[in-house]
Symmetry: C2
């Protein structure tokens, strides 16, 4: 049996089978979007993501956008824990024939995203590699009682999401030449795909309210399954309440498919108690898209279960 | 101009030209072996290293040894700051045709190194990639006043190193078939190369005494230059006092060349005040190999300057 014969989840189980969990490790490997360590004076939140040219950066992405993305993915993970990101390290595997302008622009893109969210790029590593490979590792801090996990959703609570969905997936169709749109729509959708905004401020504002939370960059569908599994619950999603991006609704035939299964949107999916809706609305714009049930992930008004699929590497 | 036309140092300068240094960042990008963040209740120490199959793992390395190495390199960086490593994340780019036994053994090797030094592997990322690529990011903690930097060596102080040198470089010659040795020597040298021990306990014991410190895995020569540059000093190294590994002395014609320029030894190079020798000797075995001068890096007894060379990626 080889790596390509099994799922990413099973590969992670296999590689981490021997890992233990030392003192002070609140959340360890395989457990959530980030690891959490209790230092005694608050918690440190950690995450890492490796991205590759062929699988993660479509041809038309600029160096600036690639740099931006390499930081944004990790900040989005920190945001999904309700933590404040403070610093990031980026390791770079760089092809020998990379133009120096590209290298400088890559750094500027990283820094544009980091500094927008008050995060410092504090180090990294650089060496020669066949394919451009970027590995970002971010650190954040949070008070222990404000950490939001995947596993806290309770039956009867409301299911919510920040922002609007489908923009990144629609942008990918345009980038791959599988769809076309007006210049203005095209520009908005490509920006959703190539320069996603991690929901750092939203994540911080939701800490203290959200009972569970996850970043939906893999796809809404996959994130619903992950949240349901971790919390031991199900979800009822109301089709009409899913906030679909404007350009997607007006231009594409399958906006719901793109929004649920497309992936690439850096939004936060979370649950809150019904009584907290007004308080949270004052702090963060979001949409209620359904509710927490006892089991199953149903799409109301379609008689369908939402499948576990989206953007996957393996 | 392309990446391969300039040095790694210049590439790092280029990519990080735009990076700022936010509040609380004690040591940022380009400044030392690790980044250091002051949280107000102590310091967090961070480092990341990316390793690739073709450039970092000779063919005969086992999956267990590759896993071990991917953790050891980062723990060695944390040790060189005098900090206590507590957790590590490892991202893995995995070729599709990797056997599952290899994947499991890789994880066991990572965990063997981490758990030996009381470090938890708290997360990572895994995806498909042409070449096996591992990116480890470690975090440690230290009281601010115990952080040891590269830049603290003072003229007249003693120059010291832990352990013995040349073993990894000699092992590499054996691994590449460029040299041979008796079975017992061969085993010891290959172990130095493939399963280096990060000097975690030594680093902790030296905090409070060492006035400057660096990990010498790039080579003793390169580390001498880095320490001299950061501290604004020079070094006088006494050839006869360099502790050369036993198997190297007995089997190789050029033990001094291997020890100074070979690289791959995970030892700590540091400076201490003359009056502290006895106190430090009680805690950590080490060799005094010379002294801090005002400028230049001289090898006494050979009329030579020690050049800036060793194991470099670019």
């Amino acid at each position: 049996m080889r790596a390509s014969d099994i799922t990413e989840k099973k590969l992670i189980e296999l590689v981490s089978r021997s890992f233990g969990k030392g003192d002070g490790i609140v959340i360890g490997a395989r457990e959530d979007d980030c690891a959490v360590i209790d230092t005694g004076e608050g918690c440190i939140v950690l995450t890492t993501d490796m991205l590759h040219r062929t699988t993660d950066f479509p041809e038309m992405m600029t160096a600036h956008q690639i740099g931006w993305m390499s930081v944004a993915v990790s900040l989005s993970d920190i945001a999904s824990m309700g933590a404040r990101p403070i610093a990031i390290l980026v390791s770079i595997g760089l092809p020998d024939d990379t133009e120096l302008d590209f290298v400088e622009e890559l750094g500027e893109g990283m820094n544009a995203c980091a500094s927008k969210y008050d995060v410092s790029i504090v180090g990294g590593d650089i060496d020669s590699h066949d394919e451009l490979t970027l590995c970002g590792s971010a650190i954040g801090t949070a008070a222990k009682e404000r950490i939001v996990r995947r596993g806290g959703a309770g039956e009867g609570e409301l299911l919510c999401v920040t922002g609007s969905l489908g923009g990144a997936a629609a942008g990918l169709k345009i980038a791959l030449g599988e769809a076309s749109a007006s210049d203005s729509v095209r520009e908005i959708l490509l920006k959703s795909l190539f320069e996603p905004e991690p929901r750092v401020l939203e994540g911080l504002a939701l800490a203290g309210y959200a009972t569970s939370m996850i970043d939906i960059s893999d796809s809404l569908a996959i994130s619903l399954h992950e949240l349901a599994d971790a919390s031991g619950v199900g979800f009822q999603v109301v089709k009409e309440q899913i906030p679909i991006s404007d350009g997607v609704k007006s231009t594409f035939k399958d906006p719901l498919e793109l929004s649920i299964y497309g992936g690439g949107d850096f939004e936060l999916l979370f649950t809150i108690k019904r009584g907290d809706v007004t308080s949270v609305k004052d702090k963060v714009p979001f949409s209620v898209i359904g509710e927490v049930t006892s089991s199953g992930i149903h799409l109301m008004g379609s008689d369908q279960e939402i499948e576990f699929r989206g953007y996957r590497h393996f």
